[in-house]
């Protein structure tokens, strides 16, 4: 256990060094990628923010509360970008569908540890997290929410759960690529895209049935709206407060089961995506 934790930090250190080297050796393109992340992310948030400014109150949330929710969403995206974006770790169907698990199962490090560490890019991938923290801090300064150490821990825990939900959703659907490598190659992109497109909408004004669907079957509401409301002290009354935790555990278990099952299939069938000369089919 201790050896595993030590190894994880060692690997994070190696990937951090590689990322820093990219920044130092190819600064122009690295900065361009950072700027792109910032512009893309802020544009995605701007639409809902402008709506909130225009209407003052959407779905039971004031414009400052919506801003807090957008900041939270940005932090969640920032964590995924910083910890799980390099080598498509979050977009697992690409690795499976492209036959790139082969490279990993020959490494002297467990697959779970590789997936946990190889996506780490603390230099080129920190922009969204910093933006999110800035927006969250600004929104909190305009709200009457009391922020103590317990609240900060709740915030970190909620962010962790939201990240786990998005990744689990990606891995559940991404496991389809074990069985349909070409057709399923981009399925994780769609799964994560679903959160990207929908998680910033304040869905409090929708019917209970719609909210329940968006917090369970298609859990986009758990990526920002639900936890943001709980943190602001206005937990949606129609839904249980522990919903975030329950869904995180449920989806994580489902993802682990689906992935293991897919790996068993992969162990017997392998991948047909690369020809003997290394070209992808």
């Amino acid at each position: 256990m201790v050896a595993n934790i030590k190894r994880i930090f060692q690997l994070w250190g190696i990937y951090a060094k590689l990322d820093l080297l990219w920044f130092l050796r190819d600064t122009k393109y690295c900065v361009a990628a950072i700027v792109s992340d910032i512009v893309t992310n802020l544009s995605a948030l701007a639409g809902v923010f402008l709506l909130a400014e225009r209407f003052g109150n959407i779905g039971g949330m004031s414009s400052d509360q919506v801003l807090f929710m957008l900041g939270y969403a940005c932090v969640v995206d920032g964590v995924i970008l910083m910890f799980f974006s390099m080598n498509n770790v979050a977009w697992i169907s690409r690795l499976i569908g492209r036959g790139q698990l082969e490279h990993r199962v020959t490494q002297p490090v467990p697959l779970w540890m590789q997936l946990l560490t190889e996506g780490f890019i603390p230099v080129s991938g920190n922009s969204m997290l910093l933006c999110g923290l800035g927006i969250t801090w600004y929104a909190l300064s305009r709200l009457a929410t009391s922020v103590g150490s317990l609240w900060v821990l709740s915030f970190l825990f909620s962010v962790g759960c939201s990240v786990a939900i998005i990744l689990s959703f990606s891995y559940i659907f991404g496991s389809i690529a074990f069985y349909a490598q070409v057709a399923g190659e981009e399925i994780s992109t769609t799964a994560i895209g679903l959160f990207g497109a929908l998680k910033t909408f304040p869905i409090g004004g929708l019917s209970l049935a719609a909210k329940t669907v968006l917090c369970t079957i298609v859990p986009v509401g758990l990526a920002a709206w639900f936890p943001a409301n709980v943190l602001l002290g206005q937990a949606p009354q129609s839904l249980p407060q522990a919903l975030l935790l329950i869904m995180t555990i449920t989806l994580a278990l489902a993802a682990a089961t689906m992935f293991r099952k897919g790996m068993k299939h992969y162990a017997t069938r392998g991948s047909i995506r690369y020809s003997a000369r290394g070209h992808r089919r």
Binding site: V35, E53, N57, V182, G205
Partner: protein
Amino acid sequence: MIKYLVTSKLSATRALDGGLFYMLSGHLLKLARLIILLLLWRSLAAQGADLGGLSLEQLLLYTMLSSILTEQLSIVTPATTAFWEGSIASRYLRPLPVLAQMMAETVGGWLPGVLLYSIPMVLASGLVGISLGSAFMANGLLFLLSLGLSISLGFAIDFLFAAAVIYVKNASYTAYSIRQAVTKLFSGALIPFALLPWGLGNVFELLPFGSVASAPLLIFVGADDPARLILLQAAWNVVLWPVTLIVFKGSEERMVSYGG
């Protein structure tokens, strides 16, 4: 003309290469976003919000049509991807003008989306109380004229961005991401300009991006002066096409494509 139709056909059938599942996922994403937006507009109307001069019916119609015509109102040609993948070189070997080839490929690529998403959504719109037919009867001709100008302008803007991508070389995907993000916000395809605060909509509608998506949608729902919008679209076409052709021609000299 036949050679362009053949190019379009190749492009349309290529979309099926990844299987039905591969194609459907993108449409499911569009459908999910459409449902959320329709529910959101209804809830805003129910709380008595001022919808910026639009009626709820017009707003729902606007959003539904924007979703149905997503690909036509946000033109993405294979140009940027071709630089990134290195396949641009092969297009220069074919006996057709490069830009015209890419336009034909783009139009062909719409076919699966039209069959799998646009037509089903037109048929389903009546079930959710959105009447596309009556709006088309009232404003159909002007809308089609505006849509034609919009598509033309969309191609010009895409090729202009493609020319910019040639300059930034390896950062082509970065440039593409920025372009997609910015145009989505500025075009009015997702959120109608009438719903934006601080008079931003009045500024955005004068930009070329506004002429691409917002103008035809507003004409369809009968929410603005069609003559003014169509003239603005025509003016942007007249200004941007020559600029696009000159800039693209100039950037061809700098074209470097490694493949990837």
